[in-house]
Amino acid sequence: MNLFDLFFYALAALTVVSALVLVFSRNVIYSAVGLLFAFFGVAGIYVLLAADFVAVVQILVYVGGILILLVFGVMLTQRITNIEMRTGTLQLLPALVVVAGVLAVLLRMVYKTPWASYAPAEFNPTSAKLGTHFMTDYLIPFEIVSVLLLAALIGAAFIARKERG
């Protein structure tokens, strides 16, 4: 067990425990905090996978953007002083059974498949290579996704505004 393994297990534990808090907490704000630490844990996992650029994007976009947006959603739709902040669950037991089945199938698939796995390369900076990919092989998806983002943001602002008259 070397330092790398230790980091992996620590980050995996952080991620899974945070996700458990997210799922089983009855308070929406606690769920949001759980999601925050889950995002940080996943960013750490990306670093261990030599994906430095994606890890930074994960923190910038998920923690700095999506999570703030979700917390805004909580604040705007619930009064903090009353008990409406709580979130109930329905059909927890059947759902647990179904999800346990899904997890069992997934884990069996993961461990039974003979993956064609290479020995990983050295840790190298990825941003230059990613930028080249975006501007050459993936130029069309890159442009489409920019237009998609623009359309989504305009649409979101249009849907969320108060109707007049």
Binding site: F4, D5, A12, T15, V16, A19, L20, L22, V28, S31, L35, A38, V42, I45, Y46, L49, A50, A51, F53, V57, Q58, V61, Y62, G65, I66, L69, L70, F72, G73, T77, Q78, T87, T89, L92, A95, V98, V99, L103, V110, Y111, W115, A116, S117, Y118, P120, A121, T126, K129, L130, H133, F134, D137, V145, L148, L149, A152, L153, G155, I159, A160
Partner: protein, 103 residues
């Protein structure tokens, strides 16, 4: 040499996916359901990046991960707008109460 291989990351991703699925199918609160969706997308991203590291070494998986993150941001923005609109109409974001298409 580290003993952490591809299957470790895939197993972690499977656990995260299951927890996100559990969140989506059991929660009553629309915002919490959205959080579950984000968890599922993160699990998918771990898979993409793990395969980019261990199977395909040309970083295509990381490119896809960036696309997934962008799409997740767009989805979150639109979904939050819909949730706010739902709250305007019903004064509640309990998904069980949103059962009518009529205005």
């Amino acid at each position: 040499m580290s003993s952490i291989g591809l299957t470790h990351y895939l197993a972690l991703s499977a656990v995260l996916f299951s927890l996100g699925l559990l969140c989506v199918i059991t929660k009553k609160n629309a915002v919490t359901v959205l959080m579950g969706i984000e968890l599922i997308l993160n699990a998918a991203n771990i898979n993409f990046i793990a395969f980019a590291r261990f199977v395909d070494t040309d970083l295509d998986g990381q490119v896809f991960a960036v696309f997934v993150i962008v799409t997740a941001a767009a989805a979150a923005a639109v979904a939050l707008a819909i949730v706010l609109n739902l709250y305007e109409r019903l004064k509640s974001i309990n998904l069980d109460e949103a059962d009518s298409l009529a205005r």
